[in-house]
Symmetry: C2
Subunit: 347 residues, 2 copies
């Protein structure tokens, strides 16, 4: 199947309100003021020497250097990262949506009745826009057939098979290659400084856990995401967890600080996002005492990646960038701040 490229034309909130199939962004430019000092071995080689990089390094040194008045004990060095649009790309559609659409195609032979049943009939004809005309109910149906009705172990295998073979429609790369090299360096840099790094994403928790350890170095127990309900059953005497067609938790917007409290139980001292869905997580991270850090990735590079912000249906960045400017949070201007986009280069 080729992923349909029709514009989604559906708001982010609606999409996420079922099983968080989908979660991008850009904002106004920021002047470069090259201030960062490059140490002997630069842990952030894909970051240009701009004020952005300097703000990261300055914060990390403030909370980790012995003798600093803002020193934070290692146990409290919690950093939370959004995934879609922050750690990996999210255009032209959220990668988990591409997974769901591919799964519909893969399952179609088992469902001859889909030929006459929406939203599947439209999907099978490659008409994504038509399929989504059914609104939330249509999305819920797509999520249901692709994300429930199997055990957690079966789902993990399905995702593993997909993620190791499916190709991005624009670059032809594996989705796991569509990760931001500067953010990989940032994750490693923070861990090297005693931070525990968590993913906190509107994406599905069971979906992300399949690859988060391999591509980000974040183990399953440090992934927070949206989830469906589960049931515990014995099947032939063996215990299984069935994935049910019912939303358990929507880890987006106000759900992010709530998900952080539920899973981590500590207020992060640093948070990284890229869209309005991350606003409350950044507010929460900045809300505690002592030194705090909040960063937004602004997608400003149409040539090497994508450029979008206030008017995008994917990863809309509108209120959050206004808040960032008002509050003095760090905003990455991808075009100016990042030397390299993906490990393989650019789009």
């Amino acid at each position: 199947m080729t992923t349909p490229r029709t514009s989604l034309g559906v708001s982010r909130r609606i999409l996420l309100s079922s099983l968080a199939l989908l979660p991008a962004l850009i904002g106004p430019m920021r002047p470069i003021s090259a201030l960062a000092q490059t140490p002997a071995t630069d842990p952030l080689p894909s970051w240009n020497e701009t004020a952005t990089k300097n703000s990261i390094v300055t914060f990390v040194e403030r909370v980790t250097k012995q003798g600093s008045p803002d020193l934070v004990p290692p146990a409290e060095r919690i950093a939370t990262f959004d995934n879609d649009g922050t750690l990996w790309a999210e255009q032209p559609i959220y990668f988990q949506a591409a997974f769901a659409l591919d799964r519909v195609m893969a399952l179609a032979p088992l469902h001859p009745e889909w030929k006459d049943k929406e939203p599947f009939a439209s999907l099978l004809k490659g008409d994504l826009k038509g399929a989504l005309a059914g609104g939330e109910a249509a999305i819920f149906e797509i999520v249901t057939v692709t994300h429930s009705g199997m055990t957690t172990v079966e789902f993990e295998k399905i995702v593993r098979d997909w993620i190791s073979t499916a190709k991005h429609p624009v670059t032809g790369r594996l989705y796991t290659e569509m990760v931001y090299q500067p953010m990989l360096e940032l994750l490693a840099y923070m861990r090297a400084n005693g931070f525990k790094t968590f993913i906190v994403s509107g994406g599905g928790i069971d979906f992300m856990r399949v690859f988060a350890e391999q591509i980000y170095g974040v183990p399953p127990e440090q992934v927070v995401g949206s989830s469906g309900k589960l049931s515990f059953e014995l099947r032939g005497g063996r215990p299984i967890l069935m994935k049910l067609p019912e939303l358990n938790f929507n880890d987006d917007k106000t759900g992010k600080p709530i998900g952080i409290q539920m899973h981590i139980g500590r207020q992060p001292i640093a948070a990284f996002g890229n869209s309005d869905g991350d606003l409350q997580m950044l507010e929460w991270a900045k809300g505690g005492g002592g030194a705090r850090f909040a960063l937004l990735v602004h997608h400003t590079d149409a040539e090497r990646e994508w450029a979008y912000d206030r008017n995008s249906s994917i990863g809309r960045l509108d209120k959050a960038v206004d808040a960032a400017r008002a509050m003095g949070w760090t905003v990455v201007n991808m075009k100016n701040d990042w030397k390299k986009i993906f490990p393989f280069g650019s789009k």
Copy 2:
């Protein structure tokens, strides 16, 4: 306030079904067969040299020794521990229930109307049985007024103040002293062998996190428990999380493997419990491939601790001990297997 000592007379299920105020255990005796070899420095000095200790050490060596056919990579060495009756005592009532009752007494001056309103009227007269005559609704009211209506930060302070001063009604010790010395050694032993130790308890997640790191060495992000819903709000521009009077998740029985999947995302290879509420967690841990370990603490020592099992309303151990015998799981006979009960000695 003196904690009322009236027998609860309410089933565990009902109590837990609201906010998991409360979550114990004993079974038939087990013959001692002293097999364990004591290394130069015994990491489990409070365990007698019985088959129980031997089963623990044998398992840990199987999954950790280089060259063992059952070697498990460190990232997959997940061990989950119930709390009430497994890591600390739970008699004469669950400690979190004692907290709730103390809080009702502390809040009473602010609620003159409670004098004429059940279940508070009975509680204020020290009549716990009368208060609980109202069943689930009464318990829900007690949980609601003591565990919601404040921010997560405010609740943490309330618990911290209580746990650092409240005394156990029988021993006169701090509740944080009522922990099992052999289990503290076991937690440390497993961590020293590369295990990540988690608490998975029917108790309240926000309650346990206040002291779990200090007394068990388990950080907040490795505590899984029952929870109430939260809401994210800005109060005077500052972000807060309000604890709402609504159950979010009941981490007991089938809820335990579900809570494990939600929070950890990996099947544990070892699980430790003491009551029927832990049965599904132990089944889940034993359900995967390779070497697996399941252990039940059986409260058999009426003199040094308490003795109870099939007929106890607190920590009932009935079906789980039958399962343990049928499946060959390890059952701790507290009287025979433990040299020492609490760090300070015995009851």
